[in-house]
């Protein structure tokens, strides 16, 4: 049983998980104030014979306090979040040395196009594998997402990566895996009756392993 986000598998997981924790603490404090306050009031101010409610229409000072504190907190949270948002999603943040792969989504599979031995997409040695995403550990990777039919969403929980693949659009999502091993791709956007089984497998290799795999695939071999 897991009670937290999945184990971190990319460079994005650090800041996202820290922000998650920070929001959990902020909202946790607010929640405790409200719920403890409610329970206290329910017990303390319950109707009893002879009691009378305190007649008041409010307090400007209290209003200012509980308007200003959330406002300042939210603006600060927005500024911090935006820094990481730009880093993760802005096109300009994609590292120039990123290794590019094509991911084409269709009902109900992921078609991954690899650049082949020349490391360039769009050349003759490219090859496509269904439902298998092989990447190199610690190497910035950019997936160029497209869709054949409906909207799908490319989601690898361990990497904290999610990006819709929209027909008619070319969207690039980038990440840098930090852990070797096997993971899964899920589709996060309802894409039809097979939505649930649109499952791909992710393999994070060391550079040498990856090279070997590419060579083997380019030679027409199967895994």
């Amino acid at each position: 049983m897991r009670w937290w986000l999945p184990d971190a598998g990319s460079t994005f997981a650090g800041p996202i998980d820290t922000l998650f924790l920070a929001i959990l603490i902020i909202t946790g404090i607010a929640l405790v104030i409200v719920e403890v306050g409610l329970v206290t009031f329910v017990i303390r101010y319950r109707a009893r014979p002879g009691r009378k409610a305190f007649y008041t229409h409010g307090s400007t000072r209290a209003e200012v306090i509980w308007t200003a504190i959330p406002a300042v907190t939210m603006v600060a949270l927005g500024l911090i979040s935006n820094h990481y948002w730009v880093l993760m999603k802005d096109k300009k943040s994609i590292p120039p040395n990123a290794y590019h792969l094509g991911v084409h989504a269709k009902q109900f599979e992921w078609q991954v196009t690899y650049p082949g031995p020349d490391d360039k997409l769009g050349t003759a040695d490219d090859f496509t594998v269904r439902n298998q995403l092989h990447v190199i550990v610690n190497q910035p990777t950019a997936v160029e997402l497209s869709s054949e039919d409906v909207i799908h969403s490319f989601f690898v929980p361990e990497w904290r990566v999610k990006q819709d693949a929209v027909p008619g659009m070319h969207i690039t999502a980038w990440f840098q895996a930090t852990k070797t091993g096997e993971f899964e791709i899920g589709c996060a956007e309802l894409c039809g009756m097979g939505h649930y089984k649109m499952r791909g497998r992710v393999f994070v290799h060391t550079p040498d392993e990856y090279k070997a795999w590419i060579a083997q695939q380019a030679a027409g071999g199967t895994e």
Binding site: M1, Y55, W66, S81, N82, W85, K162, K197
Partner: protein, 593 residues
């Protein structure tokens, strides 16, 4: 009108309202109260339908591959050997959302309570346009019937989620549903008509038909909330209608608004849908907030803490509600810079929401709390809405939204707002105004049992969804157990399903209480909650036409425990104290009642 204003204007059959046939009185009625009650029965029926669909969803998620109990009665196109099929599963999630949002919660809050409460609370005889009002009900019923028909056509119900994302919704070859996808679009167009007709009516009535002395800032917060909601609805629903018409054209006439292959743009649907859809979220919560405010002041025997800031918070939420739609599209491929602006506007909604929560607490602070069933549910509303509001901050912060978007975390969040918020408010409002509707009280004992059990099972159902969402379980998937990363948390899915079944079962207490009390409930005294609202100057149930003569209003709606009240702890808006002067009546527009 300026003559003797008595402490309790007597209600009674209005001269102009001669006895009517059963059909005119209860079926094709133009009486706002009967229309409200018609909406109540119809939307409670759809609430039950939505609940039944939810139970099937929970069966599948808790016990994938096991035959659905009683599934044998379903046709082969939905189940195979009793096991829910994937194509039926997505019909279930689509129609659960559609029915709950459009045909249960929205009409329960707006159709029922805007109709029933507005004229009673502002002291007028009926709506400005009673006939349009009647049409608004019958169109809503027609829309519901069209939507329900989706289950009975070949290929079954719509399959693209209640958000109907194109191109899946536009292309039958991709969704597998042909007729019902069109029925969805048609139903939404009809429902939009109904909603706009109702809203125009509410807005006009509130602006023009307030009783003398009912200044804007003497209106109860329920009326303020319903007023702002009506403005949201009249501006938002036509956008959805427009989008639904475009979708219908794509589905039937061969246009390609949303089909990229022919130059369309799938994101256009999302922008249009959410430009409606986010204000819709506030249409579903503002009336709940308004009614809860009335009930908390009553239960606390204290004026609302910060009445003016409560009004401005309603307006603030409604205004911000127009500029946050993009937060539903953070992962959609929309320009990330737009995401930044939508993040800021979304986070700012926390401010008016916090004002509301703290002012409800301020109202209870040093009060003299009476725990009648409406008050219990109103406190439940505050505590649960707080969780729903706070969990929204996680998704508003865009980087954190990346792992959470389109997972069960969102499902948890939206149910904390829609069930913990809107439905708890309805469990407060229904017994509170029940005597005004039917002249009888609902049972307090069953009501309390229902509240406590619902509160427990509700949290057991929806809280763990946050955790499986953090674990990554995507929304609307038929079988989570095929994923290695989701398998370990399957026991929690089983737990949620059992809790959901219990939650559903407990609702029969409410249904029983509601139906049984119609005939056998205790006869209601005139002002059972010792409240200040104008509606309690009338007998229960209130007669057609409400007041014989337009009543006067002498003060704000929340004068509980006011020093002038003497030995009582409430001072109704309609009571004239020796020190009160009669208000100068505002001239009614020509043709007014």
């Amino acid at each position: 009108m300026t003559s003797v204003a008595h402490a309790k204007p007597a209600g009674g059959a209005h001269d102009a309202h001669a006895p009517m046939s059963f059909w005119r009185k209860y079926i094709f009625s133009t009486d706002h109260k009967i229309i409200g009650i018609q909406f109540l029965f119809v939307s409670l029926f759809f609430l039950l339908v939505g609940g039944l669909l939810a139970m099937q969803i929970r069966w599948q998620l808790g016990f994938p591959g096991k035959p659905l109990p009683g599934g044998g009665i379903l046709p082969e196109s939905m189940v195979s050997g009793g096991v829910i099929l994937p194509e039926y599963y997505i019909q279930l999630v689509t129609m659960h959302g559609t029915f709950m949002v459009f045909f249960a919660i929205m009409p329960l809050l707006v159709g029922v309570y805007a109709n029933f409460l507005i004229p009673l609370k502002i002291g007028t005889h009926d709506m400005a346009f009673p006939r349009i009002n009647m049409w608004s009900f019958w169109l809503a019923l027609l829309a519901g019937a069209i939507m329900l028909a989706g289950f009975f056509v070949p290929d079954g119900a719509p399959r693209a989620g209640w958000t109907m994302y194109a191109p899946l919704s536009a292309r039958p070859d991709l969704s597998g549903a042909t007729i019902s996808q069109k029925l969805w679009s048609i139903s939404i167009v009809v429902l939009g008509l109904s909603s706009v007709m109702g809203s125009v009516n509410y807005i006009t009535t509130i602006i023009n038909h307030r009783a003398p002395g009912m200044h804007w800032f003497r209106m109860p917060l329920s009326v303020w909330a319903l007023f702002i909601t009506a403005i949201l609805a009249v501006l938002a629903l036509p956008v959805l209608q427009g989008a639904a018409i475009m979708l219908l054209f794509d589905q039937t006439l061969g246009t390609h608004f949303f089909d990229p292959g022919a130059g369309g743009q799938p994101l256009l649907w999302q922008h249009l849908f959410w430009f409606f859809g986010h204000p819709e979220v506030y249409i579903l919560i503002l009336p709940a907030m308004g009614m809860v405010s009335d009930i908390i002041a009553n239960g606390s025997r204290k004026p609302i803490f910060g009445y003016h800031s409560m009004v401005f918070a309603i307006i603030g939420i409604a205004f911000l509600g127009w500029i946050v739609w993009g937060h539903h599209m953070f992962m959609s491929g929309m320009n990330p810079t737009l995401g930044s602006t939508f993040m800021v506007s979304t986070l700012l909604i926390a401010v008016p929401s916090a004002i509301k929560v703290f002012n409800w607490m301020g109202t209870m602070w040093r009060g003299n709390l009476r725990f009648h069933v409406p008050m219990l549910n109103a406190i439940g509303f505050v505590s649960m809405f707080t969780i729903g509001g706070l969990s929204g901050i996680f998704m508003a912060a865009t980087p954190v939204d990346i792992p959470l978007h389109d997972t069960q975390f969102i499902v948890a969040h939206l149910h904390y707002v829609l069930f913990g918020g809107s439905l708890f408010a309805l469990f407060a409002a229904i017994p509170y105004w029940y005597p005004k509707m039917f002249g009888r009280m609902m049972s307090e004992r069953i009501g309390k049992l229902h509240f406590f059990l619902t509160f427990i099972f509700y949290n057991m159902t929806f809280f763990p969804m946050h955790i499986i969402g953090m674990g990554g379980q995507m929304r609307r998937i038929y079988d989570p157990t095929i994923y290695d990363f989701l398998k370990p948390q399957q026991p929690l899915n089983v737990f949620i399903s059992y809790s959901a079944f219990a939650l559903f079962a407990v609702q029969f207490l409410f249904a029983f209480n509601f139906l049984w009390s119609l005939k056998f409930g205790k006869k209601a005294p005139q002002n059972p909650w010792e409240d200040n609202g104008m509606e309690w100057s009338l007998p229960n149930p209130a007669p057609h036409g409400n007041w014989d003569r337009t009543p006067n209003v002498y003060r704000g709606p929340y004068e509980f425990s006011a020093p002038e009240a003497g030995d009582k702890d409430y001072l109704p808006q309609y009571v004239k104290l020796p020190t009160d002067r009669d208000p100068v009546p505002a001239p009614l527009p020509a043709g007014g009642h």
